[in-house]
């Protein structure tokens, strides 16, 4: 199970947070801060796995992250997920964002967090991986965006 998916920038500003377990808003912010603290102090060339912070299950969970330019993509997962698999999934996620936003950058995520959520919803649902095929994800996202556009025209 994936417990949470967080995107924040190099300064720890959240760009997307998706928790698959309920926490209060305050706790969520603390988790984001704690995670940022854990992840940001790591060098570029160290491994992408570390044990989760105390707030989100401690050593039961793992943080698996990737750092792209100004953004950290962090998945907090439990032992049923394959570490390397999740790393690939993050890659798929980022590539999908890249396709959907055409050369994605932090600003896209800042201003269109709703869209990022919609894309993520086609990949991960309720903490479980729904789809890993990028083309399938993009097809579904596009189809829904098309629907939205047709509704605007009406």
């Amino acid at each position: 199970m994936i417990k949470a998916i967080l995107i924040f920038n190099n300064h720890g500003k959240p760009r997307l947070s998706k928790f698959y377990e309920h926490y209060s808003e305050d706790t969520e912010q603390q988790i984001i801060r704690e995670t940022f603290h854990l992840v940001s102090k790591r060098d570029e060339n160290v491994c992408n796995f570390l044990e989760g912070g105390m707030l989100i299950g401690g050593s039961e969970n793992k943080l698996i992250y990737r750092h792209y330019a100004t953004l950290y993509f962090v998945f907090c997962v439990d032992s049923s997920e394959s570490e390397l698999g999740i790393l690939d999934l993050i890659q798929v996620f980022v590539e999908t964002l890249d396709k959907c936003f055409e050369n994605v950058c932090e600003l896209d995520l800042i201003f269109h967090v709703d869209k990022v959520h919609n894309i993520l919803a086609e990949m991960v649902m309720g903490g479980m991986v729904l789809e890993t095929n990028m083309n399938e994800i993009i097809t579904q996202v596009d189809a829904q965006n098309k629907m939205e556009k047709s509704e605007v025209r009406l």
Binding site: Y20, E51, L84, F111, D114, G126
Partner: protein, 1232 residues
């Protein structure tokens, strides 16, 4: 109204949208909070408007603010409003907001049930999709219960997009509403073989997640997963399955044996590192599960270790990390194979990556031995010194302690060294693990008696320097060690060199700043010390003044503690203060009190095992809840008081009976051990003698100067107490030398040659420095061994520990729903009946087949001739492995076991089990590479025969039947040659040996009173009617009457009832059944759509009347309306047939059947008979067939056969119907 809308949209132009909000926040960096609060005010205004567009815009902004940490639960109702918009755009915004901020205690969730249900059944797949996604985040037990049926229906949705989401969300439903698991599971299982890879992957995902928590309930799925594993190419699915096998294999070692080979193959073949890694992991799990049973899997271990070494040496830090992680798993069972890579692991300790260092530390834990412990710990101490972050340093600290204390200090040869390491560790500033060090100190001092003198000396030094530890009170974690120090000095004060000094140290005013529980220990142990001091002083009568001074010291110092705000400190202090005052009085009268004071603290305190109290078995006949005295009818608080009193009585009894037992053992052993120890101490030149003078020397030489505790300068790096290492080394050298001398004496001749290559010391060569007497922890007498006390009672997965193999009971066929729920709208017939599918089908089959077999058997007897028998024998010989397995299986199978369970046994029995020579032989017969195929092939056959076997009455006939069965097969073989030139006419075959009459009557249900078989036929004259003919057979000796037949209608299919009857009334069967008589009744059903097969649940109630009594009985059944039953055998001429095909109105589909080894005419006859087709034309091994549905759909088949492969090309004007018919044809042939 129109004006309002226009006004709304104009307003909207001035509203901020999400982008404006974000921009605004970015422009107000200084007063962000203030800006946001004005935005929230605006949003509140927007939410008050009627325009849904404005509302959804507001909700969208709220979702963003929620991410920034603002509580937006006040807008929950508005979110529900936006969710229920008919427009997808708004709906999506609403569901996203709900998924981000709704949770179980959000009360408006109750309002969403119907909205969600509506969205789930929306014709737009994205409405459904968005609802499922949202629901997956905020599903509550109520929602799960109310929507379980709807979601289950969606699992069979035509769109894979919906199917996969529905499958995934079922996991959440199971968690919140465990009752749904059993009814939904058959369908979940079906989805494992869904044609869409996404749906399949989702189902694998869900089942893996379920199985991870309660693996034993999913063992029976192993064959299915095995099949998937060997056939799937999707790495995600493979990884999940392989992980699942890792969880299953500890429960079933035979499974592990089966897995090793395919996994090894995958390891060799895959290029995906993720897959390789998971394979290695599961192989490790298998090896762990096998480690006891199987002698040798060293090749597999070697392969794993070797692959892992490659990972660890890789430059990719991720692989390095995972490699270490997996290595630590091997370590547990095969430490030797890992220890050879010690170099690599020590190297990883220097890695710049903390995660990797931590993993390497984990590995070190398992790699220590008596020989290398000191060396490794020395290395670790260096790392402690260098460590920057406190987290890593603390981790190192716990690791050092773990490593040293593992398996009862197995690897420690010198406890002085260990104590000094512990003392060393107390210098860590700001560690959280003070209590850990303290408990180690206590544990060692209590359990290793030989070390007490040394430990006490060290602790006294610690106490004396307590101010250094407590200097920084914020980081007071470390002052926990003072707790241990005080206790050790007090309890073992007889070893103290200068008890008076220690007593003084313990009563310093500064102590009052320590945490309460530590002060309490100080006070209590000060009293113990006091008694020791008194003893020493009263020995010399001249010193009575000194003794009085000591008392005065206590009287002066204790009042500080009497004023403590900690109750325990206060109480202990005032007790002791009064005691000392009393003693002082006695002293003034020159009364000797030392002996009596010492008696206060006499007796040893022994360690008690952590779970000892819990494990005290309740003595027979003792009811802890029962009243000892009848409670007076007083107030409740009084009751409670009594209860605790009762417990106290019990506890006292307990201590009374354990204590003497211990001393009894101790008394004898102690004497012996003391002797041994004395001898040992005398012989050991490095042993610090207990005489006061030598101890003093030691204190000065080693304790004060070399133990760095004393010279505290926190910026100075930690100093490893080398002297112990050196001492130890010297000692070992000496021991070795001694031993060598002895060796030499023993074998003078060999000695010379051996000396050169004396090599490294082996484990056994190292003798411990002390005769270590590690006191074991006390456990109560007849403690019950139990390991089940570690489980978390709050784990939601506990509720999902449900046996899934047990066939569904009648009450479970359908998900329970609340009665008031308006659920007619969505209840599809398929879904209602789905539950029992798995269990009902084999039964039906078996019924059919039994009929057939019986008849065929008879005929064969007639026609049997010598040649066939010869063939039989030959074939029987070649089939022996299979047969032996079958009989084995039957023998091993308890009569009550479920088909799935025995199926699993059967499947697994292919793997060799050492205890079962027959099975082992069976496997060696078959080449290993073919085992998976063979296994799955065989497994497919088993379920057919299984239900027969379970019918106990027919047990004896079983073997015969099997033989017949086999003969039947040969028989068919035999005739296939002669069947070439037969002519076919309308489905009947003219042959020298016509097919036995087949029966379409399928078993419907049976119990000990009555048996029901039925035939379902479409009504030619009415396109919406299906006629069900049911034969009721009375099986008992009693008269059966008042039979009432009832079926639960679905939307699509309804039982036709006489006019005036209600929709749930049952129909009376128009006859009674005397014993042994059977009779047929017909029931007419009206159906609307015939495209899908359907199942209807029904009940037959009847009265069994015997001479003296009558009982009311009931029998549940499921009617299966296959698509075939909607087809009617209709003759068709070839020219009309050709025209029909040319018309182009028909859509095609095709089917391939493999491994069909029956003659073509039998095949055609079967299709004609079971599926209501007629043959239009047949040329050699090719035939065209035709049938028509009751609603006039044309179904055309072109059947071709070549080498056991039958291909069927089909056309029909209703593709759905065609697909189902083809599936049913496939099923028919998979059963023969």
């Amino acid at each position: 109204m129109a004006l309002k809308i226009v006004k709304g949209s104009i307003d909207r132009m001035f509203d901020k949208n999400l982008q404006d909000l974000v921009r605004g926040i970015r422009n107000h960096k200084e007063d962000e909070a203030k800006y946001i609060s004005t935005c929230i005010d605006e949003i509140k205004q927007e939410l008050k408007q009627d325009n849904i567009a404005v509302k959804s815009n507001a909700v969208c902004k709220l979702t963003y603010l929620q991410m920034l940490g603002y509580d937006v639960s006040w807008a929950a109702f508005n979110i529900v409003e936006v969710m229920s918009s008919s427009k997808f755009t708004y709906k999506r915004i609403g569901y996203l907001a709900a998924s981000q901020c709704f949770h179980e205690s959000t009360d408006v969730i109750m309002l969403t049930t119907n909205q969600i249900r509506k969205d789930l059944s929306s014709p737009n797949q994205y409405d459904t999709g968005v609802a499922l996604t949202g629901l997956s985040c905020f599903v509550t037990p109520d929602l799960a219960r109310d929507l379980a049926n709807d979601i289950m229906t969606l699992m069979s949705h035509t769109k894979p997009y919906i199917r996969k989401k529905a499958v995934l969300i079922m996991y959440k439903v199971f968690l919140k509403y465990p009752e749904s698991l059993r009814p939904a599971f058959p369908r979940m299982k079906e989805k494992l073989e869904d044609p869409d890879p996404g749906v399949q992957s989702a189902a694998v995902n869900v089942i893996c997640e379920l199985a991870r928590r309660n693996p034993k309930n999913y063992l029976s799925l192993a064959p299915l997963f095995f099949k998937l594993m060997t056939s799937s190419t999707n790495n995600w699915v493979l990884i999940k399955i392989i992980k699942l096998f890792g969880a299953l294999t500890p429960l079933e070692p035979r499974l592990g044996k089966k897995l090793i080979e395919p996994l090894t193959n995958l390891i060799h073949s895959t290029s995906a590192m993720s897959l390789l890694y998971e394979c290695v992991n599961t192989v490790i799990a298998v090896l762990i599960s096998l480690s006891s049973g199987m002698p040798n899997h060293s090749a597999s271990i070697q392969l794993c270790v070797q692959k892992l070494r490659i990972l660890i040496e890789d430059s990719d830090q991720n692989l390095k990390y995972l490699g270490l992680l997996a290595m630590s798993k091997i370590l547990k069972t095969h430490p030797k194979s890992v220890q050879s890579h010690k170099d690599l692991i020590l190297q990883c300790l220097d890695d710049k990556d903390e995660s990797i260092r931590l993993r390497a530390l984990d590995l070190l834990y398992g790699m220590v031995s008596k020989k290398n412990l000191m060396e490794i710990v020395k290395k670790l101490m260096l790392h402690v010194d260098k460590a920057e972050g406190t987290t890593y340093r603390d981790e190192l600290l716990t690791k050092i302690i773990d490593i040293c204390s593992q398996s009862n200090y197995q690897y420690i040869t010198n406890f002085e060294w260990y104590i000094s390491i512990l003392v060393e560790l107390t210098r860590l500033e700001g560690t959280r693990h003070g209590h850990l060090i303290a408990s180690q100190m206590l544990d060692v001092a209590i359990r290793v008696k030989a070390i007490r003198a040394f430990a006490v000396a060290q602790m006294a030094t610690l106490l004396d320097n307590a101010h250094l530890l407590t200097g920084n009170t914020q980081h007071s974690g470390i002052c926990e060690v003072l707790y241990a120090a005080a206790w050790i000095c007090g309890e073992f004060s007889e070893h103290l060199e200068d008890p008076m000094a220690t007593l003084e140290a313990m009563l310093r005013p500064k102590v009052a700043t320590l945490p309460g529980h530590i002060q309490a220990v100080y006070v209590q142990n000060a009293a113990k010390l006091f008694s020791t001091v008194l003893c020493g002083q009263e020995g010399a009568p001249a010193d009575s003044k000194v003794a009085q001074e000591t008392s005065q010291l206590l009287i002066d110092r204790l009042p500080v503690f009497v004023q403590s705000d900690n109750l325990e400190v206060q109480e202990r202090a005032s007790c002791i203060l009064q005691l000392v005052k009393y003693i002082q009085k006695l002293q003034q009268k020159d009364v000797e009190v030392a002996e009596e004071v010492t008696a206060l603290f006499a007796g040893e305190l022994n360690p008690v095992a952590p779970k000892a109290q819990k494990k005290v078995p309740v003595p027979e006949g003792l009811d802890l809840d029962a009243w000892i005295n009848e409670p007076p009818s007083g107030s409740e608080s009084e009751d409670e008081g009594r209860k605790t009193k009762g417990k106290a009585v019990f506890a006292r009894e307990e201590s009374r009976h354990t204590k003497p037992r211990y001393t009894e053992v101790d008394e004898k052993e102690l004497a012996m051990r003391r002797e041994v120890r004395k001898a040992e101490q005398a012989n050991n030149p490095f042993y610090i003698k207990a005489s006061p003078s030598s101890q003093k020397v030691y204190q000065e030489a080693v304790g004060v100067e070399h133990i760095p505790v004393v010279q505290i300068d926190l910026s100075v790096p930690l100093k490893v107490p080398d002297q112990y290492v050196k001492l130890e080394e010297e000692r070992r050298e000496k021991n070795k030398a001694d031993r060598k001398k002895k060796d030499k004496k023993k074998r003078r001749e060999k000695g010379r040659q051996r000396r050169g290559d004396s090599g490294p010391e082996s484990e056994e060569d190292i003798t411990p420095a002390h005769m270590v007497d590690i006191v074991t922890e006390e456990m109560p007498e007849n403690a019950l061994p139990s390991d089940d006390d570690d489980k978390d009672p709050n784990d939601p997965h506990k509720a999902l520990n449900i046996d899934l193999d047990k066939p569904l009971a009648d009450s479970e066929k359908k998900l329970p729903v609340r009665t008031h729920r308006p659920d007619e709208v969505l209840k599809s017939p398929i879904e209602d009946a789905e539950g029992l599918e798995v269990t009902s089908e084999p039964k039906k089959k078996s019924g059919k087949e039994k009929d057939k077999e019986r008849k065929k058997g008879k005929e064969k007897k007639k026609k049997k001739h010598k040649q066939e028998e010869g063939e039989d024998l030959m074939e029987a010989g070649s089939e022996e492995p299979v047969q032996s397995k079958v009989t084995n299986d039957v023998a091993a199978q308890p009569p009550a076991s479920t088909p799935e369970a025995s199926d699993l046994d059967f499947w697994l029995s292919n793997a060799p089990v050492p205890s079962d020579p027959q099975e082992a032989a069976a496997v060696t017969d078959a080449p290993p590479a073919s085992t998976p195929d063979a296994a799955s092939g065989v497994a497919a056959v088993v379920p057919d025969s299984e239900p027969e076997e379970t019918k106990s009455s027919k047990h004896k006939k079983k073997k015969q039947k099997k033989e017949k069965d086999k003969k039947k097969k040969h028989h068919h073989h035999h005739h296939s040659d002669g069947a070439r030139e037969e002519s076919v006419q309308n489905g009947t075959v003219e042959d020298e040996e016509p097919l036995p009459p087949m029966s379409n009557y399928a078993m419907l249900a049976e119990n000990s009173y009555i048996k029901m078989v039925c035939d379902i036929q479409g009504n030619l004259h009415d396109g919406s009617q299906v006629v069900v003919s049911v034969i009721f057979e009375n099986k008992c000796d009693s008269f059966i009457k008042s039979m009432e037949f009832n079926v639960m209608d679905s939307l699509n299919s309804k039982l036709q009832r006489p006019e005036g009857a209600g929709p749930h009334d049952s129909l009376t069967v128009p006859f009674h059944l005397p014993p042994g008589i059977s009779s047929e009744a017909r029931f007419i059903f009206s159906v609307q759509s015939i495209v899908m097969p359907q199942k209807l649940k029904g009940t037959l109630t009847f009265i069994v009347k015997t001479e003296d009594s009558s009982t009311h009985e009931k029998l549940d059944f499921k009617l299966h309306f296959t698509c075939t039953s909607y087809l009617i055998t209709t003759p068709c001429y070839s020219d009309a047939y050709a025209k029909l095909l040319e018309s182009g109105d028909l859509k095609g589909s095709s089917l391939k059947l493999e491994g069909i080894n029956q003659p073509f005419h039998h095949l055609l006859a079967r299709i004609c008979f079971h599926h209501h087709f007629s043959v239009v034309e047949r040329i050699d091994s090719c035939a065209s067939m035709y049938s028509r549905s009751i609603q006039g759909h044309h179904v055309c088949l072109l059947v071709k056969t070549a080498d056991q492969t039958v291909s069927i090309d089909a056309k029909c004007d209703e593709p759905g119907l065609l697909r189902n018919v083809l599936d049913e044809i496939k099923l028919t042939f998979s059963q023969c």
